[in-house]
Structure formats: structure tokens, C-alpha cells
Symmetry: C2
Subunit: 212 residues, 2 copies
Amino acid sequence: MPQLDVQRRGLMFVLSSPSGAGKSTLARSLLEGDGEITMSVSVTTRPMRPGEVEGKDYYFVSREDFGLMVNRDELLEHAKVFDHYYGTPAGPVEDALAEGRDVLFDIDWQGAQQLTQAAGDDLVKVFILPPSRQTLEERLFTRAQDSAEVVAGRMAKANDEISHWAEYDYVIINADLEIAKRQVRGILESERLKRRRQPGLADFVKQIQEGL
Amino acid sequence: MPQLDVQRRGLMFVLSSPSGAGKSTLARSLLEGDGEITMSVSVTTRPMRPGEVEGKDYYFVSREDFGLMVNRDELLEHAKVFDHYYGTPAGPVEDALAEGRDVLFDIDWQGAQQLTQAAGDDLVKVFILPPSRQTLEERLFTRAQDSAEVVAGRMAKANDEISHWAEYDYVIINADLEIAKRQVRGILESERLKRRRQPGLADFVKQIQEGL
């Protein structure tokens, strides 16, 4: 919600957490409840799957085009996952920010680090922690009916993600989903009120002072 | 509201605005609705008035003692208003912050500048703007049934205060009091979730990672 007619610059809202801490639920809740933030759409070299929509789920490109985008510095961050490449095109994000719309990123600490390098001031980084180790283990276990070994592997990955908590601006402990939803929403709304995200304020104040 | 048992450091919440922009109403609403923030109590050399309570309204001191406090660097900010001195004692504020309680400051730009020098990172500075010059004039006029000249003097003072809006972290335009109340509250609650205001997180994360 922009204030009156004051022009604002959008922000890049990063949610990271170990798997099983509720990040996806919180991201969905944010997108559904707020008309001014949309999910970042990644570019990928993996083949389109049935039901996926170009420009909505992903921008699908060839490996060659992906390489060109990297070389031209057109990606804010990128990573290789198994055999395929994924990245965040800078253009659509910059367009959104300039128009006062926010962009949500559901990414891991590696992506967050790259975004920080590429877009420091526009970034708001929120880390979601589980309320206890036990809760985390239960969530990782319930989620997939897998062997103890597989769960241990997931736990190691979760520990790796958690180890980067101190690189984030805000840290929410997701002990109660409704409270956590309110907190995530509150951070987004407050960050929009930051002076430096409201470039239109200078003109607004001028009007008040000069009575025009 | 602290998260679980995670130890947090309190913050200094500064509200500034020109007279007539709703600052006092917003401050009162914040104090009434939140059990973890209290108003800063100033020290003053002016005589106690009937009904005032030592340590609640002010700490009343002699001019000599006030001078000693200044010399000992025991005040976070101080100012002379007409014939009397006013200041913010550092001790009670530091105690509150260390115990995870927040302190509210209803001060002007000069006090805010001094606090910034004394306590940078603990400070959250919010500036309240009126929605228009007309609203500001109406509020300044309705408030006291004074002459046009007196109102013009107040307007000049308001303009002086407004000219410092860019020294604040957040700027709220108070066009709708209920929305502004929610925004002020939201900023306070979000700032509490900042990683650096939760020194207990390092231990908390250690417990999650090591399962203790």
C-alpha cells in the first residue's frame, strides 16, 4: 500500500529457511494477501513440464542463451542444480522496483548472497527458523516417508542452510504459523515505509512546505 | 513480544513530527497497546507542578546537578527551553535496552540528532507528516483559538521541523489515524525482529544445530 500519491521504489523480499521451517507456506500467504508483491520468475535450461507456463513458472531458454545471459551480466544470481541451470533475470525485477512493485524470492543462502552483491539496498532478507530441532526433524520426517539415512541427509542440508542465519536482516522463529505470517507481512509493510524507499517524499514535503 | 526465550536487546523508538501531525496521539496509542515499551522520563530543572510525580513525569533536579550530569556525559541529549533545562538520562535507557524493553521518545529533530550521535544502532527514528498543508494549518488553528499571527509563527516552526524529515529511518503520512497507528506499531514490531536486536539467537541456533 503506497502512501497517498507518494511514489515509492519496490523492494526485493528474500525468504530463506531450512526445508521444513514453513518458508513456502509463508511465501504463499504473502502472495495471496498482498496485491503489490509478486514471485520472481526464474530463467531455466531444464525442459518445460506438462502444465507449466512460459513466463509464469519459468522462462525456458537453451543452454546457449543462458550462457549469453550470464556473460552479459543479465542475471542477478544463478546456480546449477543437477544437470540444469537456473537464474534470476535482472530486467523484470528492475522494472518492478521502478514501478513501485515488490518481488518475492524463495531462495537459499547461496542465492541470497549473490543477490546481496547485485542489489544491496533494494534487498530485505528474512530468515525463518524452526522453533526446535525436534520440530525440524519431525517436519523433515513426516514430509516424506523416507529412511533414517535420507532424513539424516536432509538434516545435514538443513544445518548447512541454518548456519547462514546471521547473513539476514530479520530472523523469525516459526513457532506459531499465524504469528509468523503476521510477522512476515509486518516486515514487508514496514520496509515500504522506509524513507529511502519513498523517492516521492521530497516532492510531497515540498508541496506541504510551499503550499502548492 | 520476544520470540520464545530468545534474548533480545531493546530499542529506542523516536517519534518526531511538526505540531499538529498527530504525534502525541500515536505515541499514546503505542504505549497503551504494547506492554514492552515505556516513555522515556526526562530530567529537568524546572519546578515540579501540582500533580506531577518524581520519576514518572520527570526527574526533578537542581541546575547544579543538571550541570554535573552534562559534564559527566550522563545525558543522551539535552536542551534549554525558555529558562529551564531538559535532558534524557542515559542510565535508565541503557538498563531498559539491556533487559529487552523498548523506550519511546517524543522529541524534535534537535533531540533526535543528539540521540543519533549518542546511540546510533539502538535507534529507530520515525517521522510523521500531515497529509497536506491545508490539514496542518487547520489542525494548528483549531487547536488553539489564536490570532493569524500566532498561527503563522506555529506554521514557521512546523516548517522548520518538517525540513528535517530526511534524517529519519521511516516516514509515515498520517492521512488516516487508524492506519497510521497500525503502521507505527508495525514498525516497532518488525524492528524487534531484526537479527541484530536478538543477541540470544546465536545460542538458539546452536541448540537447533547441536540438538541440545
